[in-house]
């Protein structure tokens, strides 16, 4: 199904492009949001990624899955937004709009969502590489192979990096939000 859409896009069918993007836009936005932590910026990142995908589609290898490629583009743009020029824009927009980092208010969250929010807060303390592998593997549920493609590293690196990231994450969670793993400590 997806391959037929991809082939139509390669033949210049913009409607097929819209349909293809629609299938992946949510996960692209989610990844962008995890990286930048701001709804408006994540939206900008997602749209910029759509533009870049459109522009570079002729270079896309249709024998490869589309999702990791789209996510790798989204990731690069999101990370760039966290650099010099993007940071100024982000800082100014954060100041002008509101000073809240997250669009979701804690009091509106279910217990499960609060737990996830706490894990996210801790993940944000990790290095960028560790954050990326945790987002891909656990927040977005990508396979090792998909994560490797999205992060442009080998599957072996995904596994070793995940292992080290989880080790560091566990230490921080036990320190900051021990309730999330109390039963594991005893078991």
């Amino acid at each position: 199904m997806e391959i037929s859409l991809i082939l139509r896009v390669q033949q210049g069918d913009d409607k097929a492009f819209d349909n293809l993007i629609e299938q992946h836009r949510q996960i692209m936005f989610h990844y962008a949001y995890l990286v930048v932590g701001d709804t408006a910026v994540a939206e900008d990142v997602t749209q910029e990624a759509v533009l870049r995908i459109y522009k570079h589609f002729p270079k896309f290898d249709s024998s490869q899955p589309f999702r990791p490629w789209a996510l790798s583009i989204t990731r690069n743009i999101a990370r760039n937004h966290n650099r010099a020029w993007g940071r100024y824009k982000h800082m100014i927009s954060r100041f002008l709009n509101s000073r809240e980092h997250h669009a979701v208010h804690p009091e509106q969250l279910t217990q499960k969502q609060q737990e996830a929010q706490h894990v996210y807060e801790v993940v944000c303390q990790l290095s960028q590489d560790f954050q990326d592998v945790i987002y891909c593997r656990y927040f977005m549920g990508l396979s090792v192979e998909e994560s490797a493609s999205a992060l442009e590293i080998t599957s072996g690196t995904v596994k070793s990096r995940s292992h080290r990231a989880l080790k560091q994450l566990r230490r921080l969670i036990e320190r900051d939000y021990a309730y999330l793993v109390e039963d594991l400590q005893n078991g």
Binding site: D18, Y88, G141, L172
Partner: protein, 225 residues
């Protein structure tokens, strides 16, 4: 047990409360309209930069920037003031005790600090001296209830530390710490050194030193290795 932890994280993370995607426009239509809008946005940002560079306009447009729980005020610049007096700072301890007291895991540099201070279990200050003067001070602070740190500066350079949002301040400026709406007098001082601030989730770090921006960033990133 590691497998159980991994499964726990996977189970929890799938419940992350993402905000809804705001836009419903057709992708290509939207993408191309964005392409047309972009030059306009760029001009506005350039105006923003110019405005920030001119003191009068700068103060009118932006009163402050915020990074983590640090508020950086862009006006009210004082020319000089008293530097930090370490002997006035309460909560002196050693690095091992500091970690046990803190409510978060601190970054521990290889080079052992000469003096260590813990404030309200929410902030640790690691200080290196030449015997008399402060050579380097690393503040690590967690929690919105700790309060704000503010200073007036004339120049802010955005940068990053290990992928975390950061700013660089290289002009002398006053600093003030507030805890539960109370100004901490012993931590109200004038910093003459360069300052690197970065926000890593719920912990905000602030490094005072004579290092250049590149050196300071390199030093900060070494704390994560």
């Amino acid at each position: 047990m590691d497998d159980l932890f991994e499964k726990r994280i996977a189970d929890i993370a799938k419940h992350f409360p993402y905000p809804p995607i705001p836009l419903k426009k057709t992708q290509t239509q939207f993408a191309f309209s964005r392409a047309l809008i972009r030059p306009v946005a760029t001009v506005l940002l350039i105006v923003g930069f110019i405005a920030v560079a001119v003191p009068d306009i700068r103060a009118a447009i932006l009163e402050y920037f915020q990074i983590g729980n640090v508020m950086i005020y862009l006006d009210g610049l004082d020319p000089a003031g008293e530097p930090l007096r370490l002997d006035d700072v309460a909560g002196e301890t050693d690095i091992e005790t500091a970690q046990a007291m803190l409510k978060f895991e601190m970054l521990v540099p290889d080079e052992r600090p000469d003096r260590v201070f813990v404030q309200n279990e929410q902030m640790v200050i690691l200080v290196w001296t030449d015997g008399e003067n402060i050579e380097k001070a690393l503040y690590q602070n967690r929690g919105f209830d700790w309060g704000t740190l503010k200073g007036a500066v004339s120049n802010i350079v955005p940068t990053e530390v290990a992928g975390h949002y950061a700013v660089w301040l290289d002009t002398p400026h006053p600093v003030q710490f507030v805890y539960k709406d109370t100004v901490q007098d012993e931590l109200t001082y004038f910093v003459y050194q360069n300052v690197l601030i970065w926000d890593a989730g719920n912990v905000t770090y602030r490094l005072e030193s004579t290092l250049t921006m590149e050196e300071a960033v390199q030093y900060a990133e070494s704390l994560y290795q």
